[in-house]
């Protein structure tokens, strides 16, 4: 089992699909893995009256967020028999259609990866001090609200 190292979670700008492919590929020597579960958050063009969201600018209370990500990872490794876990979250501007969050879990049996991935996503949305500023077409903005 890979220890929950204090890996960098934050990346500047969107998360690139080829980076995700690289993440998947890196597991092809971990022969005990039977299942990967991947969650990707993509920026939506939500409507706001006449306007729509063109991008989200993410800011964070970085030191606290990094501690919280580390805690979430450690808790998940304790609760689920995971072989690997990776979390990436964007900072700065991410346009609609681009990816701002990736949670990637791997386990021997599928249920553990699936359940862990879902729980980690929920905890990130609720517990990590990150804020999304939704930038509208007309350059006005509003603060994103998580459901």
């Amino acid at each position: 089992m890979e220890p929950a190292k204090k890996h960098k979670v934050f990346v500047e700008g969107p998360i690139d699909p080829t980076f995700i492919a690289g993440s998947i590929e890196k597991h092809n020597k971990k022969y005990s893995i039977g299942a990967h579960s991947i969650f990707l958050g993509q920026v939506r063009n939500d409507k706001q009256g006449e306007q729509e969201v063109a991008a989200i600018e993410y800011t964070a209370y970085r030191e606290m967020a990094e501690e919280k990500f580390h805690e979430i990872k450690e808790d998940a490794f304790k609760k689920f028999p995971l072989i690997c876990m990776h979390i990436y979250h964007s900072l700065g501007v991410v346009k609609t259609g681009e990816i701002s969050l990736m949670v990637f879990t791997s386990s021997v049996h599928r249920k553990d990866a699936i359940d862990a991935c879902e729980e980690i996503v929920e905890r990130i949305k609720k517990e990590v001090p990150v804020w999304g500023k939704e930038i509208l077409n007309n350059e006005n903005y509003q603060w994103k609200i998580n459901s």
Partner: protein
């Protein structure tokens, strides 16, 4: 005695600064009252308070060089 106050999201929109310094504030209640006096619009925002990166739910004593963060609802992901 000096404390650092960090403002994020909607709170930073109101304070217009992301980092503020205060002197001689005994506890978080006192800090809150002070902030609301300077920025009455903060009354409309549901922010949490973290002292040295730990969210506190009750009035908490402040010490020299403590960092207090004003955290509006999180919206990452």
């Amino acid at each position: 005695m000096e404390i650092n106050v960090l403002a994020f999201g909607q709170v930073a929109d109101i304070t217009a600064k992301s980092s503020l310094k205060f002197s001689d504030v005994k506890n978080t209640n006192e800090l809150n009252q002070l902030l609301l006096t300077i920025h009455p619009e903060l009354q409309n925002i549901n922010y949490l308070i973290a002292v040295n990166k730990k969210i506190i739910r009750e009035n908490t004593e402040l010490h020299h060089e403590d960092t207090v963060a004003l955290l509006p609802p999180f919206s990452g992901g």
